[in-house]
């Protein structure tokens, strides 16, 4: 039986912890995933989402959801994530994507990259991108630059950056397809 969002809000307002739990499990994962893309840090992302739900419960009496509950959650995660980034005074943490990667991801993942065959496949796939597309992809993915920054530096519109990134990712996915499953198996074995 589907329970409407309005019902869930009402039940939570009435102090029904089970409804709260259901809501948490319904959205937790996608919200963490979303926050992680913004924050580039899985732990921080989990903090943001946990904090959102803690606040939602403790302030449930005054909870005001004007649009949909889902929109409310997404907007909250978005705003909190941006606030967290602002709070990092040096912004080093956010910008130094490389440092984060080395810290956040396990040695198993690095070990995959150490395989010469895999690395060469990645290099070949990147090299095969059209010049502009390759430049944009590299600036975004390897230099950790925001779309706006790339647009400013290359004197292009953000829309162009978006399109080029979409094309680049599609290309990478197609080129690396044969390597992806082996990567997953390797990572599982390595854990």
């Amino acid at each position: 039986m589907q329970v409407s969002e309005t019902d869930i809000v009402q039940q939570i307002k009435a102090g029904d912890i089970r409804s709260f739990e259901q809501l948490f499990h319904a959205y937790c994962e996608e919200l963490v995933r979303y926050a992680t893309t913004i924050l580039k840090d899985a732990d921080e992302a989990q903090d943001v989402v946990q904090h959102l739900f803690v606040t939602l419960w403790t302030k449930r009496d005054t909870l005001q959801v004007n649009s949909s509950l889902k929109s409310y959650l997404y907007r909250s995660v978005y705003n909190s994530s941006l606030n967290r980034i602002k709070q990092v005074t040096t912004q080093q943490k956010h910008e130094d994507y490389l440092g984060y990667v080395a810290h956040s991801y396990g040695s198993a993942a690095s070990a995959v990259l150490e395989s010469k065959e895999v690395q060469s496949a990645i290099d070949t796939a990147i090299a095969a991108l059209p010049d502009q597309c390759r430049l944009i992809f590299t600036m975004s993915r390897f230099e950790g630059k925001k779309y706006q920054q790339i647009a400013d530096e290359l004197q292009l519109s953000v829309k162009t950056i978006e399109n080029q990134m979409g094309k680049a990712l599609k290309h990478m996915r197609e080129q690396l397809q044969t390597y992806l499953p082996s990567c997953i198996i390797f990572l599982l074995l390595g854990q």
Partner: protein
């Protein structure tokens, strides 16, 4: 179609690059859920995105996160404190009657789909019980007149079961898909190994008995980790989890608390005899119909007997290791 494809590719790249606005992120999630192919398409894109940097996909342990949320909430602070007749839930008879959640060995037979079912699936034990192997290889033996529900998404990101009655499960721990049974208001999660479950949540107490491996019982307020040969108890009415020692302590501390309110003397004597060592009897069966309103809190037996006698105008005779209350039938 082509435009749609381009739009989705752009959306995926924006999302992974951390550029997606809330409504775009929602649009992507909705698109993923529209068709299994979309989900696959997304997964490959995500893998490729992380793969070029030798990174792993984002993984989320929602169950662990929820426990953190509960810890932060400290729901206990807000919980309404209700006066509860503790003894009602802990008479020796009831303890003996509670059924057991057993945890024994078992094997994970398969790791199957990532999606899980999209709706709740109900299983019913019927008249004769039911044996079934679920999609994830979990073996279920459902007792007669018992039922369970595999909650929507079972064998997706987690395996969540609601149980009413009694059932046996053979499962193996899989950190990626937490296995959680909800029985009578307590959640029981395997932490380190396979386990087998029998539960009777409509009793006043749910008992968890670990015969192998590690299991965690938890509610909003309490968590109890059990290892081999340990037992845990959950009392729904109190929303509390006890280990064996604390339960014994609780029973001892609270077994001599009585609240009688216009209760017949027959019933009073029966309850007192269940707890106190020296039997109490009535000289006259008509006395059973006398009614009394009185509270006793851990009083010595002789005091209890004297108070009853005094209240109802009876005499107490203490001979041959028993108390006898003597007197005429009470006025109606």
């Amino acid at each position: 179609m082509r435009e749609m494809n381009e739009h989705i590719e752009t959306l995926i790249a924006s999302y992974l690059s951390g550029e997606a606005l809330p409504h775009e992120a929602m649009e992507l999630e909705e698109w993923k859920q529209q068709h299994p192919d979309n989900q696959k398409h997304w997964e490959k894109s995500e893998q490729a995105y992380f793969f070029v940097r030798g990174e792993q996909n984002i993984s989320v342990d929602a169950a662990a996160m929820y426990r953190n949320v509960l810890v932060q909430l400290d729901v206990q602070k807000e919980a309404k404190v209700l006066p509860i007749d503790f003894k009602r839930y802990f008479t020796p008879l009831r303890i003996a009657a509670v059924l057991v959640i057993l945890i024994t060995g078992g094997l994970l037979l398969s790791r199957l789909s990532n999606q899980g079912s999209s709706t709740d699936i109900a299983l019913n034990g019927g008249e004769n019980g039911l044996s079934k192997t679920l999609d994830d290889g979990t073996q279920v033996e459902l007792d007669k007149n018992s039922s369970l529900t595999l909650l929507a998404g079972y064998n997706g990101k987690q395996r969540r079961i609601k149980l009413t009655g009694k059932a046996t499960f053979k499962v193996e721990h899989d950190a990626g898909k937490p296995f959680i049974v909800e029985a009578g208001g307590v959640l029981i999660q395997d932490i380190g190994t396979a386990f087998e479950v029998k539960a009777q949540p409509d009793e006043d107490t749910v008992e968890v008995w670990v015969t192998e491996g590690i299991v965690e019982m938890f509610t909003e307020n309490d968590t109890l980790r059990l290892t081999q040969n340990q037992r845990g108890y959950y009392v729904p009415a109190l929303n509390k989890i006890y280990d064996e020692r604390l339960l014994q302590q609780a029973i001892e501390d609270n077994s001599r608390i009585f609240h009688f309110s216009n209760t017949t003397l027959g019933e009073v004597i029966q309850q007192l005899n269940a707890v106190y060592p020296t039997p109490i009897s009535l000289s006259n069966a008509a006395l059973e119909r006398c009614r009394i309103t009185v509270d006793f809190t851990n009083e010595p037996q002789e005091v209890v007997v004297e108070i009853i006698a005094e209240t109802l105008g009876l005499q107490v005779e203490s001979t041959h290791g028993k108390y006898t209350l003597k007197g005429e039938a009470c006025n109606p």
